[in-house]
Amino acid sequence: MKPSPRIRSLWRNLFRRSRVEVDLDQELRAYVDELAEEKRAAGMEPGEARRKALLETGGVEQVKESVREVRAGALLETVIQDVRYGARTLFRSPGSTAAAIVALALGIGASTAIFSVVNAVLIRPLPYGHPERIAVILHGGSQPVSPANLAAWRKASRSFRRMGAAEGWNPNLTGSDRPENLSAVRVTSEIFSMLEVPPLLGRFFLPGEDEPGRDHSVVLGHGLWSRRFGADPKIVGRRITLNGEPYTVVGVMPPSFHFPPFWNQSAEIWAPLALSPRFASQGESLRVFGEIAPGSTRESAAAEMASITDALERQTPGTNRDVRVRSLKDTVVGNIRPALLVLFAAVAFVLLIACANVAHLLLARAAARQREMAVRTAIGASRSRITRQLLTESLLLAGAGGLGGILIAAWGVHALVAASPGAIPRVATVALDARVLVFTLAISFATGIAFGLAPALALSRRDLTEALREGERGSTEGGARSRLRGFLVGSEFALALVLLVGAGLMIRSLLALQAIDPGFDPRGVLTMVVSVKGTTAEDPARRAAFYQQLLERTRALPGVQAAGAINHLPLAGDIWGWPFEVEGRPPLPAGETQRATYRVVLPGYLETMRVPLVAGRGITSKDVVNSPRVVVINEDFARKHWPAESAIGRRILLAEPERPPVPAVVVGIAKNTVRDLWSSPPSEEMYLAYLQTRSYLESDNSHLQYLTLVVRTGGDPAGLTGAIRGIVGALDRNAPVSEIQTMESVVAGATGQTRFYVVLLGAFAGVALLLAAVGIYGVMAYSVSRRTHEIGIRMALGARPGEVLRLVVRQGLVVALAGTAAGAAGAAGLTRLMGALLYGVAPTDLFTFAVVSGLLIAVAVFASWLPARRATRIDPLSALRYE
């Protein structure tokens, strides 16, 4: 079969182009010759006939171009041509092309990565059936609630369809070769109904399974199921041993499931919470969740709860103080929202700077190519053809930038997740977000197109002869365009200043945080949690001996300098309060209690941590059950209760549930240490002797059956791990060891969040500074090259190099100063929004502002000085001959 004529022409046009071109050229030449011949035959003089013929034809090149445009494959051909030509032009000025591509790639990559995180953490709904109907009811929005309150609220409220509670739990999984302490949550049966997430296998707890005696069933998380049970599909119905008791597996959750989302986030196993025997208890240990009833809103539910809790608080003061109903989402993201918004703003700024940079690079390029465009128009390029050509160039640029951006974004998301401190919820679900990527790509393509095309369109509308003449003259460029470029660079400086101030403030916060004295010496200390739950040492008769032997054998290890144990480490653990009164002081008003954070220690803790004693003695091995009870208090405690006298020898009365208070003698005063948070101020704390504290020695409550071992060594603390594990295993092979970490990494974790923000904001600010510097350098270099002629004249007329230098640098400085001033004003308004992230520095810290402004101006001077120096080397004579 013969190919259709159109296919044949397409083939010919694309692959036999020179033949086709020669053919067309000859055809047109013949036409002109024929026309001239016709005119000569009519009596015209030959030269004149030829001139007339050419004139009548209307420009051979234009005719050729219009024939090319109708040819088959014309569009394809011009696109190929444009791409080839565009790539060549871009490669001809590799510096500015690279600058534009890098700017775009950084802008696209960074903003996509960060926005992916913001989206996953802040914007995307929580992975439950109707997360918007779930409210969290807590004291002050974050503190746990008592079972008595839950029972009273359930009875009184009408706005909630269901109300359930969750409580943290750390059972020991035994019965296999490797005992493990698990992070678990106990929930009432309402919780899973509220979440509406179908289990992967099996079922949830049934109503009634959260009653004592029927509560020995568990639902496994996907991670635990895979890790410990080989993802056994027949796991449902099997029994596992937790804390030495049998539990039946009733279900397995899908991998995406996690609950609760704002505390105990590492929970991977859920068990029923049998609450009914505790409904009278005022112990505050529950997180309460409510599903808002159809027809109610969170606001109406909050209003109803406010009136209920007000009434209860009047009845029993202290029980229902400051109860807040928050949406689940607010509870989850409330604390990190400011940080993410600041990062998001930083990213938007970098993207803006990148776009401004690309814009003025393209403007400069367009200005430099005015003449080229004018020439191409003059020899027959149509306006649409030139536009298409410039569009192709812009798209090439944006495409290369976009490609780089995708790579940076993919890497950035990975790096962000890896570098993020544990405190960011849902961070594990972060993935590169395709919609965001499309959005940022669209923005940068739009910038490329707008600033690549606008000057071309303006040019093609202008008078050609004027454009040609202006190009020849090498004059200083049109005022409007140079003002636009100045404005763009000025804006870059303003944005960069805001970012730099933000980063500077974070750095100052970090320095202030690092200057905090924790009150102990973290270097060379290894810590780990050792639990006796579910082991033979759980027996109250053997518990104390287990820990004492553990400490003795640990101290005997080579390289160990000291060892001790405590219930909760500062920074790493909980802080629990113990109600007490000071002996001999008037009793507190009814309903009021006073508490101090208590820490239960085995002898050697204070020495191992090098917490200095200010007065008296520490806890020793002689402080046992049948000797008088002793307490070591911290400086704050002493200052508050015995401001004018010595506290040593005084007694406090420790409250005991359903028993008379127990007196304890103050035997020592220790220096203050940090509490649960690095930056929180110290408060009253007391150290009690483990060997005297019955609840710890005897309770079958698992949260009183573990201690944190602290071991000091002269060498590498992590190197002791194996040896200590061996000692624990030899004492009881079922005793699990968990949370093994050096005290230094505990301290690092405590400042990790600030450090993370410093790194991120610092990186953004660095990029911004670089881009702004490239921007001003580009503008000044361009301006100098346009002014070569003028500078040549100035120097020929006797201007000294120093004067030329000042002339050029001043021009750059004006732009930078204007931008910096605008940026400082903007930063003063914007940094207030990051107040929540700062420590020990005001958002409008003058020092930071001054240093950052100075830095920016120095960069501007340097970036303008480089081209200025080139200007002073201009040889006046060759400059005058230039172009």
Partner: protein, 109 residues
């Protein structure tokens, strides 16, 4: 005197096809012939003639070959192909229908 009427693309195609129905012709010849038969009403400029010729050649309506002109010069001659004749018949019919319809519309009261 009024300016020569500008040619619609379809009209130009039809005129070229009709012109070439008489026999093969080169570019200038076609344009002179059109001028002549329309009594100067249509003057075909090279800027529209050549794109039209090349387009119609690619569509397979015309075939082109190099030959010698009356003035003994090399010139490119165009000739109707069989598809071109079919196209001419179809376009002539179409034109008749349109002009009749327009004439009726213009004379309607």
């Amino acid at each position: 005197m009024t300016e020569p009427t500008s040619l619609l693309q379809g009209t130009l195609d039809l005129l070229i096809l009709k012109t070439l129905a008489a026999g093969e012709m080169h570019g200038l010849g076609i344009s002179r012939r059109i001028e002549q038969v329309t009594h100067g009403a249509f003057q075909v400029k090279p800027g529209s003639l050549f794109p039209a010729l090349h387009r119609m050649e690619e569509a397979g309506w015309l075939t082109a070959s190099w030959g010698e002109s009356e003035n003994r010069r090399r010139a490119k001659y165009y000739r109707l192909s069989r598809a071109g004749r079919r196209q001419l018949r179809a376009e002539t019919e179409e034109w008749g229908r349109i002009s009749l319809a327009i004439a009726m519309a213009l004379h309607a009261t």
